[in-house]
């Protein structure tokens, strides 16, 4: 539970690499009270909108507020679910179609806590954290993404 209070850096510049995810998983192999990990990855889609294709999303955030919201969401999740560990990473700046922009990672002794917490975190992040996404098309025009 010491992990609970440690403030964590959520934002990183650019996409989240598969290698970072592997390292994060490997770091949990010494925690032998964990029986289940649940991972959610958000990947940028090459959506076609009015004949134009999204080539990247350029993420920005109200960072000071976002960090507070992430902290509150983490605390609430630790209250609600019997978790061993919880990690959240989100990209800032451009993330190309096919690249990963969100990495949520929960671990618990049993699968239900890990999977329920992971879904909870994703919904909370999408609803409450002031992150903004500019969908950039191949012709460099853009539109602003809205979560549904």
């Amino acid at each position: 539970m010491s992990e609970k209070k440690k403030p964590k850096k959520v934002f990183q510049q650019g996409p989240i690499s598969p290698e970072k995810i592997a390292t994060s998983i490997a770091n949990h192999q010494s925690k032998t009270n964990i029986g289940a990990h649940s991972i959610f990855l958000g990947q940028v889609r090459a959506d076609e909108i009015d004949g134009k294709t999204v080539q990247a999303i350029d993420y920005s955030a109200y960072e000071e507020m976002a960090e507070k919201e992430f902290y509150n969401i983490r605390e609430a999740a630790f209250e609600k679910f019997d978790l061993t560990c919880m990690h959240i990473y989100h990209s800032l700046g451009p993330v190309k179609a096919g690249e990963i922009c969100l990495f949520v990672f929960t671990s618990s002794a049993n699968r239900k806590a890990a999977t329920d917490a992971c879904s909870y975190l994703v919904e909370e992040i999408k609803a409450k954290v002031p992150i903004f996404g500019k969908e950039v098309f191949e012709d460099e025009t853009h539109q602003w993404k809205v979560n549904i």
């Binding site: 507020m65 999408k126 809205v146 979560n147």
Partner: protein
């Protein structure tokens, strides 16, 4: 009395800047005064998705104080 006003995403694009300092002595220190001032100055229409934070907190709508940070936030799009 001065406050910092910050703009994000689609709103920053429309406003043409991400931040400014405003003197409330001419605008009024009420939250609603500032909101209307900014909406009309930059021709932002509030279609119901606009959220405004005071010092990183939503839903306050309290009278403003010297040094407050007011942020105009378009719909969230994380993940």
């Amino acid at each position: 009395m001065k406050v910092t006003v910050r703009y994000f995403g689609a709103i920053a694009e429309k406003v043409g800047k991400t931040e400014e300092e405003l003197d409330l002595s001419t605008i009024g220190s009420d939250f609603q005064d500032l909101k209307e001032h900014c909406l009309s100055t930059y021709q932002i229409t509030d279609d119901g998705t606009l959220q405004i934070a005071i010092n990183q907190e939503l839903g306050l709508k309290r009278p403003l104080k010297e040094g407050d940070e007011v942020a105009f936030l378009p719909p969230f799009a994380g993940g």
